[in-house]
Symmetry: C2
Subunit: 210 residues, 2 copies
Amino acid sequence: MTDITIIGNGNMARGIGTRAVAAGKSLQILGRDAEGAEALAQELGGDTLSGTTAEPPAGDIVVLALWFDAAKEVVSAYNDALAGKIIVDICNPVDTQTFDSLVVPADTSAAQEIAKLTGGDVVKAFNTTFAGTLMAGAVAGQPLDVFIAGDSADAKAKVAEFATAAGLRPLDVGGLRHARELEGIQLLAMGLSANPDNEFNWDTALKLIR
Amino acid sequence: MTDITIIGNGNMARGIGTRAVAAGKSLQILGRDAEGAEALAQELGGDTLSGTTAEPPAGDIVVLALWFDAAKEVVSAYNDALAGKIIVDICNPVDTQTFDSLVVPADTSAAQEIAKLTGGDVVKAFNTTFAGTLMAGAVAGQPLDVFIAGDSADAKAKVAEFATAAGLRPLDVGGLRHARELEGIQLLAMGLSANPDNEFNWDTALKLIR
């Protein structure tokens, strides 16, 4: 029994993996190459195993810590191995040449496109939290907000439980179509970080303060 | 010479007017009825005059503190009186029956639709700051973020100068088409406030913390 599988072994896998271990979750890191996944698993510590994407994900929650194109490929390749799983899409489908546009049409989102490829319950989450802020677990002394969109209330509740256990604040913003708005605002945050004229350097977090 | 005209005398006019007076700006409040505008001008104090939308706006910056339909009507009716003005659109074109959708098509925004109706320079700003937070000028001890989108760098700089003078933090997020993303994220914030199941009550502000 594994709580969470993270597919990918880059910075976002490190960030979400750090929070999963802090939450006491059992974790599986699956990378394209075994060495990278194993190195991250050892770095994270806790109850963490590693493997490659040649094997099926063991976790109830499967986090796609990948860019959009890779996420679509992995979900398509896994096919039935994701049935019944909660699939967390964290990606921001931005044009990385300009950081000024999304690469998905105006009436959809990366999360909705990924959902078309799988029978699992896709939940959008963790797309407004940069990797460094997830590793720290807080920004400016404040818990990170994790905006969550999805069509399965049960799947969203389980992702929210993970976020809460990890010391973060989950905010359910509605159905999966609202992934568009979450990807849209993070496009703007990424654009601000990509612009050398201001103070931001991929270290921000979007928060609803009151 | 008037710095800022606010069209409307509701809560958002009160919030932005409070910040304008705090910034030492000369202000004109134009309402549909003279009494409401005059009452707000007296409440705000400072260098504030009032009038009705039967007269042209005097300010270099004209803030449309109106819902989307009313903003379109006013801009159309003013026509040439807005030429050369900086027009600040603050509205959120939400379906107020559900707070779950925007009423503009997916590939546009209220700001872009308003821009089609006028020769002035339309700037999107102040749509992620609820009226009460503008009156307070800060939330949880932190200066409010004012996300700004527009196609005129000069117009955006002048709106940013106002925000800074008012004690707020302006963030230029790019061209006017990015109004879509700003309206989208505020749809989610409004949805959270409209939902009685959580802690929010039209008292939040969206902030990029670091």
